[in-house]
């Protein structure tokens, strides 16, 4: 079994806010991330798929195909967008790095499973070079 990872970047704005909490509690828990005017990051996305190399092509998946899936399913929705205001998953869920990883997995998994022999293994999202979250699906 081989794991293959493709990286992509997107730039988005967001803020952290729980509507069921007071302003004070939001500021206490989320700090400067609770600023309702939002702020932004250059995110790096790493998508890992796992499978056996095709005996003819030697590919686990065609990287161009994976790039197109990532662009169509994820980057088109997230890149240069305000995650809270423009991405449906984050109308309720707070767009933390954890939840972005889960949303990315949910967007990619059907396409990866349907089209090729490989399976989605891991999604990792870097908010900054020092902060990342990862989702590996339901165990």
């Amino acid at each position: 079994m081989i794991e293959l990872t493709r990286r992509a970047t997107f730039s988005s704005s967001h803020f952290y806010w729980n509507e069921s909490w007071s302003a004070e509690k939001n500021e206490q828990v989320f700090g400067k991330c609770a600023n309702r005017n939002g702020h932004g990051h250059n995110y790096t996305l790493e998508v890992t798929v796992a499978g056996e190399p095709d005996p003819v092509t030697g590919f686990v998946v065609d990287l161009k195909w994976l790039k197109d899936v990532m662009e169509r399913e994820v980057l088109a929705a997230f890149d240069h967008r305000h995650l809270n205001l423009e991405v449906p998953e984050f109308a309720k869920a707070i767009p933390t790095t954890e939840n972005i990883a889960i949303a990315t997995w949910t967007r990619l998994e059907p396409a990866v499973t349907a089209a090729r022999g490989a399976r989605l293994s891991r999604v990792r999202v870097y908010e900054t070079p020092e902060i990342f979250a990862e989702y590996r699906g339901e165990a």
């Binding site: 707070i94 889960i102 902060i131 165990a139």
Partner: protein, 136 residues
């Protein structure tokens, strides 16, 4: 819904790799320039991965400010700008990066306010790193 949250920290420390059980020649053979008597230093990068359910109220596995505080009090204040050989954890244990990795894991594993410690990775230089998922 289990997810993982990771964070990277920079730590500068000195060490000397020298095993008391080995002769001078054996130490030099095993550790090379890392055995030079006065030690040397590295800018280490510590990568900490936590895992756990995503809290529905916060959307987080662990609040990074809480993780930062544990790292600061348990690891950074202890090791940053210190000589690792002088730390009690390394009195009878050579402060290789493998052993530093296990020491950091042991210092953190019971201290997290949320989630569990999945692994600790220590990058000694840009070209070598060590990773462990237990303190043993």
């Amino acid at each position: 819904m289990r997810a993982y949250f990771g964070r990277r920290y920079k730590l500068s420390a000195s060490h000397r790799l020298h095993a008391e059980a080995l002769s001078v020649e054996e130490n030099q053979a095993a550790y090379g320039k890392c055995n030079n008597p006065h030690g040397h230093g590295h800018n280490y990068v510590l990568e900490v991965l936590t895992g756990g359910p995503v809290d529905e109220a916060t959307g987080m596995v662990i609040n990074l400010t809480a993780l930062d505080e544990v790292m600061r009090t348990k690891v950074m204040e202890r090791f940053d700008h210190a000589n690792l050989n002088l730390d009690p954890l390394f009195v009878n244990r050579v402060p290789t990066t493998e052993n530093l990795c296990r020491a950091v894991f042991g210092l953190l594993k019971d201290e997290l306010p949320a989630g569990e410690l999945e692994w600790v990775r220590v990058e000694e230089t840009e070209n070598n790193f060590f990773q462990c998922n237990s303190a043993e």
